[in-house]
């Protein structure tokens, strides 16, 4: 069977900077693939191409064995790709419900925006993701980093994604909330989602991911199953930019 996602020979440059350079990576349904690498390695840029935020200069994206055309966030959405951006991508002036449903507002049969239903749905999903979340009516600018994070996560989880991209989803979270995200990832994985996860925490990645891929200076150093490598192997890939598995 064809993989859920195949990104083939992806390249993109910003001005003189080759942010992603001929990178290929795949993702299966029910699999968590981790992306590791130093700041500026090109991780966010790579997944932003999949999420439709950037247009690649060259390369191909295949989804379920079909060549996909993703040139805008709307295209990505049509392929059931949901993204939690590193920057969270929330509109600060809007409340949680408006952010959750932005671009996909629920409507009444007459076509009017259904605020009550959106609020009720937001209440429901937030109760599941972050039971402490109470500030439903306030602009998200008034929320803590962790609360904002859970709004962004709710936004990605609510719409039945098949492909989920999480760019440093636990960066702003405490220990307890980080554990909740880890549980959520396991649950979504069981439901058969494919997940791209970006994090700087190598140990966390070894626990959560089925495979880890390391990038450096826009290039893919290697992607290995977590049981085939040690944490030290990963670190040396990140730092040296060489895959000990291949060299050996």
């Amino acid at each position: 069977m064809a993989p859920l996602v195949e990104m083939k020979n992806i390249s993109i440059a910003f001005g003189g900077v080759q942010a992603v350079d001929d990178v290929s990576i795949s993702l299966e349904a029910g699999e968590v693939v981790g992306l590791l690498g130093h700041n500026g390695a090109g991780k966010s840029t790579l997944i932003k191409i999949l999420s439709g935020a950037y247009k690649m200069d060259s390369g191909e994206i295949w989804i379920d064995g079909q060549k996909a055309q993703i040139t805008s966030p709307r295209d990505a959405r049509d392929y059931n790709i949901e993204t939690i951006y590193q920057t969270l991508a929330l509109a600060d002036n809007l409340d949680a419900a408006s952010n959750l449903f932005l671009g996909r507002e629920l409507t009444t049969p007459l076509g009017f925006v259904d605020d009550d239903r959106m609020e009720a749905e937001t209440r429901k999903i937030m109760a599941r993701l972050n039971p402490n979340f109470k500030k439903l009516k306030e602009p998200v600018s008034a929320l803590s980093g962790g609360q904002r994070q859970s709004v962004a996560i709710a936004r990605a989880v609510y719409f039945n994604a098949k492909i989920l991209i999480m760019d440093e989803p636990t960066a702003a979270l405490g220990v307890h909330e980080t554990a909740m995200v880890a549980d959520l990832i396991q649950e979504l994985k069981k439901q058969g989602l494919g997940i791209f996860l970006i994090s700087h925490d190598t140990r966390e990645m070894m626990e959560l991911c089925d495979r880890v891929a390391v990038m450096k200076n826009g290039r893919m150093i290697g992607a290995e199953r977590v049981e085939d490598v040690t944490e030290d192997d990963i670190l040396s890939m990140i730092i040296l930019g060489k895959n000990p598995k291949v060299a050996a």
């Binding site: 999420s51 935020a53 805008s72 966030p73 709307r74 959405r77 993204t83 951006y85 991508a89 929330l90 509109a91 600060d92 002036n93 809007l94 408006s98 932005l102 671009g103 996909r104 507002e105 409507t107 076509g111 009017f112 925006v113 605020d115 009550d116 239903r117 009720a120 209440r123 009516k137 600018s141 008034a142």
Partner: protein, 328 residues
């Protein structure tokens, strides 16, 4: 029905408090503006004998209504983070065109009004389209529109006597009442548009953070064109009401209306930088401005001084907006 019932049942303790919260929240947002209006009205009430009559109050509403119709469009555009300096000139073009349709072509008023509104919408949409396609800032594109549309209105009107319109048309400008009713109807519809439609509610997201809106799958460019289109349409409607009221049309009308509209919107508390505001605020802002104008003229203060006063108030209102943004 049963589903709705169960939902209210589940959230009923929260939701009745919620409704109160919303009321309280709305009041907290506008109470300063309401207080300012009361203070200003009270000031002139004390200072000027003739100002105290009920007719004066009516005429404040009446004079505010035409500008307020136009300002409803300005509200939409500003909330979306846009700016349209050309609506005063669109006002002139539509006024003149509707005049030509009736005085020269003898079109029935309904058709003339329909075509006039279409004209306003088209000119507004043109502003939006040029911005979206060229990425030239709104300020520049609509500044171009300001002079270009003004020129167009002058060309269309030159050598023509555009007056004496059919009674059924003049009805739209009857006294203070009809324009006022039109204003309230327009404000109500604009409010519904901004809060209850997808396109309208997205104006807040686009004005708040355009990139986030784009990443969320909002068709930003297309939405913007619609907002400018509505701005043009309402400028056209305002022009039609004024032409009906004056019973003549000329290209000099509408001059500086865009600035007065922006002033009213900002005085009311809608952010000049997008993402925050509402049409009720615009009406309040318009009443404040009109009260000052009427009050000052009752006190014998000339129009030139009135302009200076309005200018000062605009700066204060924007300063307040900037200050509020920096404190949250």
């Amino acid at each position: 029905m049963s589903q709705a019932d169960s939902q209210t049942a589940v959230s009923s303790p929260g939701s009745s408090a919620g409704a109160l919260d919303v009321l309280k929240h709305n009041f907290m947002q506008i109470w300063q503006v309401l207080a300012a209006l009361a203070l200003i009205y009270g000031f002139f009430f004390l200072m000027s004998e003739p100002f105290r009559s009920f007719d004066t109050l009516l005429s404040i509403f009446g004079q505010a209504s035409i500008l307020a119709i136009l300002a409803c469009g300005t509200t939409i555009v500003l909330i979306s983070g846009g700016l349209d300096l050309s609506v005063g000139s669109i006002f002139a073009v539509v006024g003149v065109t509707v005049g030509i349709f009736m005085a020269e072509w003898g079109l029935p008023p309904v058709l003339a009004v329909g075509l006039g509104l279409g004209m306003g919408a088209a000119l507004g949409a043109l502003n939006g389209t040029i911005q979206v396609l060229t990425k030239v800032p709104a300020f520049i594109v609509t500044l171009g529109g300001l002079t270009a549309y003004k020129g167009l209105a002058e060309i269309l009107a030159s050598g023509r006597d555009l007056s004496r319109f059919p009674e059924s048309f003049k009805f739209l400008g009857t006294g203070n009442t009809v324009p006022m009713l039109i204003m309230f109807a327009v404000a109500l519809l604009t409010g519904l548009f901004l809060t209850k439609t997808r396109l309208g509610s997205r104006a807040f997201a686009i004005g708040g953070n355009e990139e986030v809106a784009r990443l969320s799958g909002v068709p930003v460019a297309k939405s913007r064109i619609y907002y400018y289109m509505l701005g043009g349409l309402l400028a056209g409607l305002a022009a039609i009401v004024e032409v009906a009221k004056l019973n003549f049309a000329m290209p000099a009308r509408g001059q500086s209306y865009e600035l007065y509209a922006i002033a009213a919107v900002v005085i009311g508390g809608t952010s000049l930088f997008g993402g925050r505001g509402g049409v009720g605020k615009t009406l309040l802002g318009m009443f404040i401005m009109q009260t000052i104008i009427v009050g000052l003229s009752y006190m014998g203060v000339g129009t030139s001084y009135q302009r200076i006063a309005i200018g000062a108030i605009i700066i204060v209102a924007v300063y307040w907006d900037v200050w509020r943004r920096s404190t949250r």
